[in-house]
């Protein structure tokens, strides 16, 4: 029986390869994700190890470990502590870690892009082991800098060149004296200044975030940590270098974990889509081999043997497809690696390790999906009676679609109702909505064959009208086995439903943002920083000093934690606020904002029973157990998007000066001001700071929308995989159905169908299948997207926008997909020898 299986694989090599191909695509995504994750992991290990080289103990201020999450910076340690630390027995060297932002202007005068990563500034010390001077010399005075290699290359500058650097918010003309290399910076740029400059720029208040301490030979990190801790004030802490590395790594690893899960979800979609194709392929293979299988049964093979034979074939396809997928995954990881290199200008990934676990997972996932998909067709194969071998037209009779349709529609209806109920409640129930969405998708998949007739008839209508018999032949072929057409189309449906759903959300987000900004933003200009460095603190006051300016509002962000509420509070001051941002007060005046008196939003106030005058104990930035008074309650605001508004004086108290920056500067022009002139004045003001942009309300709204588009495009690229798998499915199904229809094609050609007409028939059939999938996908995506928007209404997604352009694009693209998918099968079909085709054993 195994020989029979092998012979059957060999006999249908093309189908075998096409099926293996769809397994391959799904698996490649899984494998690529694993490989990339492992390699980033390995790189991180090396990176953090090299960054903490020679650092045995780190001294730092108090604060939460997960500063990244809450945005709360740690407290700083006074520079004066250095002498104390140096006198601790076992300490060989104490280095204050001067660090802040330093933005370098490239050759073109524009800031070197970081892609959202920080622009870092450090002090240059010859004995600092975390970097190496590779060219030139270190900076020795205020007008000199050394620049990290990748940053230098991105700036298109060389050692000896002069440029501008914005160091801790101050623009300086500088000369590049040297080039250094770091382990890896993940896209961040690095500029080094001499220690004296670093001290004034990065520690203006006489404090630094950390001291790095090196032990004398023979002193362990643990021992040193204890002796250092003994001399520290209670607010500061000492940690070992090893602990610091682990801490840094785990916070990055957490982010990496999300990324991996995210990518695997898309891999899952691609595999799910692939499983449809595999089911379809095996169903068709079994249908085509009915006579062959019946013959095997007639000569004495048991049903079990038939099942095993088909499943063995599935195992072979699964293993081969998975192995190929592993290879492709490696290629994808390599591609992603070079993409990252191009984007960040740095090789974050050293090598691409293929761990045994990756191989195991990939092969297991691929094989299990393939074999799982083949189980039903295999069982169907085993039910073929030996008598079928004797019959002339040995195709299994078409089963009625009624039961399937009823079940599918019932699922769909229950899902739709449940979804509507879940998302229209006051507080949407997301688990309920998820279950409902799954029900609806499953219902759609099950009921799809029922939709085949009306939808295919409708979408082929123009072709029938234009080409007559060609269109009709194509329509009939597509409708011959509705289950098969539906399964083929379903693969595309899933991918396109996600595309449509995601784009409904994105479009709604854009519309909602634009709406909120139109309603709540009343300033004439908005200044924004392009990187996490934000806007230098000096710009706001300078803007306020311009003659035509009525008022300026500066905002910053600080972490505020009260009981269970961990919020990123907006920092601003009451003066001029009402000119620029509309805040509707429910109780208390806006002007209550001052000192330790804060404003809280309606939802949070209600939930905690806070009213004007309530006093709460909160952690604000580096301040712990700080008492805050509620001065006012404001209506939840999308523009602010926060629970708390705190005063700038509190911010200054809670955040060390080196960590302070503005997020946004809002400028309201005086009545009758010349806006064009004001803009040019603001631009002149912002220009030296390189990465501060000046936008009016519309531009601000547009650029916010553009950032949504960036994310959207990323999602589209990821979804492209499942669409490619779906296209392969269409090719596969067409190719198989052409094999099945060989005699019919011969007959059509014999009675005078031209080659071009024949390929027309096949192309229209492919287009019909693709459009069928696209129509169902768009409908499903619209349904889910709209439901999601309804559910998120209270979260600020209050505008529903239907992405018509995307929908039209999807439909047009699916026609193109159909044409592309038909190319190969129709090339094969037109080459069929008429005589041989007619005399083929069907």
């Amino acid at each position: 029986m195994f020989r029979f299986t092998l012979a059957s694989v060999r006999g249908h090599l093309v189908r075998f390869l096409l099926t293996a191909f769809s397994v391959m695509l799904g698996v490649s995504f899984v494998a690529g994700t694993f490989i990339l994750r492992d390699s980033i992991d390995t790189t991180l290990d090396g990176l953090f190890a090299s960054a903490s080289k020679g650092v045995d103990v780190v001294v730092r201020g108090s604060g939460e470990t997960s500063a990244i999450v809450t945005g709360a910076p740690r407290g700083t340690v006074p520079l004066a502590l250095q002498a104390t630390l140096a006198s601790v027995p076992g300490v060989a060297r104490v280095v204050p870690d001067f660090q802040g932002t330093a933005i370098l202007a490239g050759k073109d005068g524009i800031a070197v892009g970081t892609g959202g990563a920080p622009a870092l500034g450090f002090a240059f010390r010859t004995d600092d082991p975390s970097f190496t001077l590779v060219h030139g010399r270190g900076p020795t005075g205020p007008g000199e800098v050394a620049v990290e290699s990748v940053t230098l290359a991105k700036a298109d500058l060389h050692v000896g060149d002069s440029t501008t650097a914005v160091i801790a918010g101050q623009a300086h003309p500088v000369t590049i004296t040297g080039e250094v290399t770091f382990g890896a910076l993940f896209g961040a740029t690095a500029v080094l200044v001499d220690e004296a400059t670093a001290r004034t720029a990065f520690a203006p208040d006489g404090t630094v975030s950390t001291f790095s301490i090196t032990a004398e030979p023979g002193v362990t990190q643990q021992a040193l940590r204890q002796s250092v801790a003994a001399v520290l004030p209670a607010t500061d802490e000492a940690v070992t270098g090893a602990a610091m590395t682990a801490e840094n790594k785990s916070s990055v690893a957490a982010g990496l974990g999300y990324l991996t899960t995210f990518l695997l979800a898309f891999a899952g979609v691609a595999l799910f889509v692939g499983s449809f194709i595999i089911v379809n392929t095996f169903s068709m293979l079994v249908a085509q081999r009915t006579r062959e299988l019946a013959l095997v049964r007639a000569v004495g093979a048991s049903r079990g043997q038939v099942v095993r034979s088909v499943l063995t074939e599935a195992v072979v396809i699964g293993v081969v497809g998975s192995a190929l997928g592993l290879g492709l995954g490696l290629a994808i990881a390599a591609g992603a690696k070079s993409l990252v290199r191009v984007a960040l200008g740095t090789d974050i990934v050293a090598a691409l390790p293929v761990h045994p676990a990756t191989v195991l997972w990939s092969v297991a996932v691929g094989t299990i999906v393939t074999v799982g998909s083949a189980v039903l067709p295999a069982r169907r194969a085993s039910r073929i009676s030996p008598v079928a071998a004797m019959r002339d037209d040995a195709t299994p009779p078409a089963r009625s679609l009624r039961r399937r349709g009823v079940v599918g529609l019932a699922f769909l209806a229950v899902g739709a109702v449940l979804l509507t109920v879940s998302v229209t409640r006051d507080s949407p129930s997301w688990p309920g909505a998820a279950v409902a969405a799954v029900l609806a998708v499953v219902g759609m998949l099950v009921a799809a064959p029922l939709a085949a007739r009306p939808v295919v008839t409708a979408v082929t209508w123009p072709f029938v009208a234009l080409t007559g018999v060609i269109g009709r032949l194509a329509r009939q072929s597509a409708l011959r086995v509705p289950r098969r057409t539906a399964a083929t189309a379903s693969a595309l449906m899933i991918g396109l439903a996600l595309v449509t759903g995601v784009s409904v959300i994105a479009q709604s987000v854009k519309a909602s943002v634009a709406d909120v900004l139109a309603r709540e933003l009343t300033s004439d200009f908005v200044l924004r920083g392009a990187s996490s460095a934000g806007i230098p603190a000096s710009i706001g006051p300078a803007a306020a000093g311009l003659p035509q300016v009525q008022s300026v509002t500066r905002t910053s962000v600080v972490g505020v934690t009260v009981d269970d509420v961990a919020a990123s509070a907006v920092v601003t001051s009451a003066a001029g606020l009402a000119d620029n941002i509309v805040i509707t007060m429910r109780s208390g005046p806006l002007t209550a904002l001052a000192g330790d008196t804060v404003l809280v939003n309606q939802t949070t106030a209600t939930a905690h029973g806070w009213t004007v005058g309530s006093v709460v104990t909160a952690a604000v930035g580096t301040l712990t157990a700080h008492r805050l008074t509620i001065g006012g309650v404001f209506q939840d605001s999308q523009a602010l998007g926060t629970e708390f508004v705190v005063d700038r004086s509190l911010y200054d108290q809670a955040v060390p000066v080196s960590a302070r920056s503005d997020r946004g500067v809002y400028v309201r022009a005086a009545p009758g001001a010349d806006l064009g002139l004001l803009r040019s004045q603001l631009v002149t003001l912002a220009k030296p700071f390189l990465i501060v942009s000046v936008e009016d309300g519309q531009e601000y709204s547009d650029s916010t929308a553009a950032s949504v588009d960036t994310l959207l495009n990323l999602l589209y690229v990821l979804l492209l995989f499942s669409v490619i798998v779906a296209v392969l499915g269409i090719i596969n199904t067409l190719a198989l159905s052409i094999v099945e229809r060989t005699r019919e094609i011969g007959l059509l050609r014999a009675v005078g169908l031209r080659r071009r007409q024949l390929s027309g028939v096949i192309t229209v059939e492919a287009i019909a299948t693709a459009l069928f999938g696209a129509v169902l996908g768009c409908l499903l995506g619209l349904g889910l997207g709209i439901a999601m928007q309804r559910g998120l209404r209270s979260q600020g997604l209050d505008q529903l926008a239907i992405p018509w352009t995307t929908i039209v694009t999807v439909l047009v693209a699916s026609v193109v997909v159909g044409v592309l998918a038909a190319a190969l099968p129709s090339a094969r079909a037109v080459r069929l020898d008429i005589l041989r085709a007619i005399s083929t054993e069907a």
Partner: protein
């Protein structure tokens, strides 16, 4: 285009223009001819000579039967004549057109407009109804259906009440009648039928054959038909006997008995 003369179907083809171009100019009543037709399959030791220098003419408006033992080259001859296969050497002339000079698209047009086929099995497109199958060549050509002629054909074949059925809902005999209707409805110059009754019982066979006969007598259709059955051959005006790729004998106005007699003669002759 290797079109030598223009001859509307159903009218006698004028011969003069052919004289300069042809080795053996066919008589005016000839609608299809093979001249020195050979077909050799395979290469080296495995060569099979399916047709060996066959020259034959088929007269307009007549039913010709081709008989011969299995493997004698009957189907090969039909395929070469019907532009489904290309001969190794020799020429085929259909309705005044030398088809050996035609490319695929010319051949396709020729098959579509001038030739009709009835095969032993699998004559119909399973997804189309009987009516759609019958009008298929006309639909493909984008031509308009000659409605009265369609009605005549359908009524003569007695398949009017089956027109909306799909092939899977028809009996073998009914399917074959639909195939005959398809071959006839475009009024081809000649119809080739390879064992059209090979899958049918004697009653269904007789119906089909009777119909082919009537279409020759009443509509002037030309038909060439391969059969193994002497009683089927008896419906023909003329029987050609093929053996080892050569025409070895022929018989005009055959009866079943005379055909049987000739066949026995070959068998005896073959054995001695």
């Amino acid at each position: 285009m290797a079109r030598l003369i223009d001859s509307p179907i159903g009218t006698p083809a004028p011969a003069p223009a052919l004289a300069t171009d042809r080795v053996t100019p066919p008589a005016p009543s000839v609608i299809a001819a093979a001249i020195g037709l050979s077909k050799i399959y395979g290469t080296g030791d495995a060569t099979v000579t399916a047709l060996d220098d066959v020259s034959v003419e088929f007269a307009r408006g007549r039913l010709t039967a081709i008989m011969g033992p299995s493997g004698s080259g009957k189907s090969t001859l039909m395929h070469c004549m019907a532009a489904l296969d290309s001969p190794t050497s020799g020429r085929v002339i259909i309705d005044g057109v030398d088809i050996s000079g035609l490319k695929d698209s010319g051949l396709t047009t020729l098959r579509r407009d001038r030739l009709g086929f009835v095969f032993q099995a699998y004559n119909l497109v399973p997804t189309l109804t009987a009516q759609e199958n019958i009008t298929l060549p006309i639909d493909i050509a984008g031509a308009t259906l000659d409605r009265p002629w369609f009605d005549t054909v359908v009524d003569t074949l007695g398949i009017r009440d089956r027109l909306s059925h799909r092939p899977s809902e028809l009996s073998g005999g009914q399917q074959q009648r639909v195939a005959c209707a398809r071959a006839l409805v475009s009024r081809p110059a000649i119809i080739f039928a390879d064992e059209p009754t090979g899958n049918l019982d004697s009653r269904a066979s007789a119906e089909i054959l009777g119909f082919l006969r009537r279409s020759v007598d009443e509509f002037g259709q030309t038909i060439v038909m391969v059969t193994h059955d002497p009683s089927a051959a008896a419906f023909a005006d003329r029987v050609l006997f093929l053996a080892d790729g050569r025409i070895v004998d022929e018989l005009d106005d055959p009866t079943a008995d005379r055909v049987l007699e000739r066949m026995r003669g070959f068998e005896l002759g073959g054995r001695s």
